[in-house]
Amino acid sequence: MSSSSNGPIPVTVITGFLGAGKTTLLNRILTEKHGKRIAVIENEFGEIGVDNQLVIQSDEEIFELNNGCICCRVRGDLIRILAKLQQRRDKFDSVLIETTGLADPGPVAQTFFTDEEVKEGFVLDGIVTVVDAKHVGLHFDDTREVREQIGFADVILLNKTDLVPPAELAKTEARIRKMNPFAKLHKTENAAIDLNKVLDIGGFDLKRALDLEPDFLKAAEDDYHHHEHEHDHEGHEHHDHEHEEEHDHHHDEDVTSVGITTPGDLDEKKLSDWLGTLLRTKGQDIFRMKGVLSVKGRDQRFVFQGVHMLMDGRPDRPWGKEPRHNALIFIGRNLDRKALNEGFLSCLA
């Protein structure tokens, strides 16, 4: 087989609207002394030029593997380029892919889960979304791609924080959090960030997803409680204000997250039927999902993660002394919070 004896090469996708700071971040990664050999695949408008680093320009050639299925859209140009990079014995330590400002991260991510040759040599490590703290407010509502890029992210750099008053920054952060509670959010100026926080983060690795668990569970619970809160205390003044804001800015198409936490054991058959139907019918609208589940009759936790209709799930470590529970989160557009909650709860044994 191929000369590679090491594991697959981690790939980081950098997304963000025009002017958010993607190029600044890339230049930082390339020029910092980290001893890594990095290959960059930048979009056709890219402007990175660093000596002694491989920077390949590419146009985003998207095609559908199965006719008409949005979840089978992949990047043909990446498949071609990655195949060539894989030929070398002195492999790259890491690959960075910069997308155009208006790119949908779906096809990039799906390339790493559907193409057999790509899967053999590369693993998607994380999606990093750079957000312009000063201007993102303008784009939240009128630019679908900005919401999608936030929804897909494992790491969000809320950049240019120096240009925004603290109150406005807090509002922007809250809004991002609502769309995507499981991404790690870092506030940056000039995209200055410790590289360990953007590279090699294991965003799609089920094992490593456990490292993120406390935060992720907290996010999911917060979301769930918030949901309860809406129903229980509708007359509350402060809440009314928030509610109004929601009506002003959020509409049905908005990118949002739905977190569900509940004790109890799940019926395996019901769960698999429900998830199968959900992904088949709503997979187009689900950007990311992650979860830890307690399945009746199983000693081990069941962990899963997915992108659109593509899901990866398996038994993980035994529950041991930890109380058995379920925690899962969906990020996407047009998510029906009520139907997701009811559907999931109906899977309880």
């Binding site: 390949i56 071609r80 030929q87 002195d90």
Partner: protein, 345 residues
């Protein structure tokens, strides 16, 4: 599965430093040129295997393509440094070197016959640009720019047109004016293109594991689906009747006589136990060579009942198989730099 009919002789063997990207016999068959992904270019004596020239750093970051000038006196190379170079094959000197228009110069092809008054022309593809050069390595015309990255390049129709494949189409261009003469638009993304020697058939291997076929006379298009992997290998028999395709562990050989392959069942050549990664028909004979990712190399006579003539193995995945012009020797190259010359006994 059948066992081979005839033994194979390992004529000579040598090694480059990394994955062999291309191999080409000189027109007379007395030299074999080989390139690697670490940037080496070597020219070997075809009989002894002794290196006549070894350029260790012909192209920084890798050499992807080789093409002998039709007179056999010079070798063109293209690489991941964005350059193409013309080497004097006996002196080993660089006769010309030029930027090809993008970071990766990936494809090279000499016209099989002189073009107008200009002699043979060399077509070079880098990124979305195709440039044409004279035998001396001087620019022949303006670069032709495509909307997408070039995926394959060849001279067709007796050297009267340059065929350029991108992910979405195959374009025929007039080599003197650059004008588009014909375009075949593909719905599925193209990886590899091959015209039959007669020019009647155009085949493409596509990212979605299909093969498309155009009858260039009628323009009719057919799709052949169900391949187990992407089809990156296509090889024509010199008579334009048989087309061999990779895809999975099996070589499929289609009969393209008369109305073409549509509705026919291909001969399936089964012997490899890993993905087929290289194919080549003898330039003047009927044997087909195939190589696979597990290092196996097979020689077939695809139309015979007992189709497997001979089999061998090299120590890493096969990247290229190339018959010498007279078909007496086969070069097989590997992912770890192997260069093995074989002969059927």
């Amino acid at each position: 599965m059948s066992s081979p009919l005839r033994a194979i002789a390992f004529t000579w063997h040598t090694r480059l430093g990394d994955f062999v990207t291309d191999a080409a016999w000189s027109p007379s068959g007395d030299r074999l040129a080989v390139s690697s992904v670490s940037g080496e270019v070597a020219i070997y004596d075809a009989t002894t295997g002794k290196a006549v020239h070894l350029f260790k750093e012909a192209h920084t970051d890798g050499c992807d393509a080789l093409a002998w000038r039709p007179d056999g006196k010079a070798l063109a190379t293209a690489g991941r440094d964005g350059m193409w170079k013309l080497w004097d094959a006996s002196e080993g000197k660089i006769l010309a070197e030029h930027e090809a228009g993008a970071l990766w110069a990936e494809y090279l092809a000499w016209s099989p016959r002189p073009v107008g008054e200009q002699g043979h022309l060399l077509a070079v593809a880098a990124g979305n640009k195709v440039t044409l050069w004279t035998e001396a390595g001087a620019p022949s015309s303006e670069a032709i720019t495509f909307s997408r990255t070039v995926a394959d390049l060849a001279w067709v129709l007796n050297g009267t047109a340059v065929a350029v494949a991108t992910s979405t189409s195959v374009n025929l261009r007039d080599p003197e004016t650059g004008k588009e003469e014909r375009a075949f638009v593909s719905r599925d993304p193209i990886l590899k293109m091959s015209f039959s020697p007669s020019g009647k058939w155009l085949m493409t291997g596509n990212q979605d594991c299909s093969v498309h076929v155009w009858n260039t006379d009628s323009g009719a298009e057919m799709h052949m689906r169900g391949y187990a992997s992407k089809v990156r290998q296509l090889a024509w028999h010199r008579g334009s009747r048989w087309l061999a395709a990779g895809g999975g562990d099996v070589v499929s050989v289609w009969d393209c006589s008369g109305p073409g392959p549509s509705g026919r069942t291909p001969n399936l050549l089964e012997w490899h136990q890993d993905l087929v990664s290289a194919l080549h028909y003898q330039p003047a004979g009927d044997w087909l060579a195939s190589g696979a990712r597990d290092g196996s190399v097979a020689i077939w006579s695809p139309t015979q009942r007992q189709s497997l003539i001979s089999g061998a193995k090299i120590s890493s995945g096969v990247t290229r198989v190339a018959w010498s012009p007279d078909g007496s020797r086969l070069a097989a190259t590997g992912e770890e730099g192997e260069v093995q010359v074989l002969a059927v006994e």
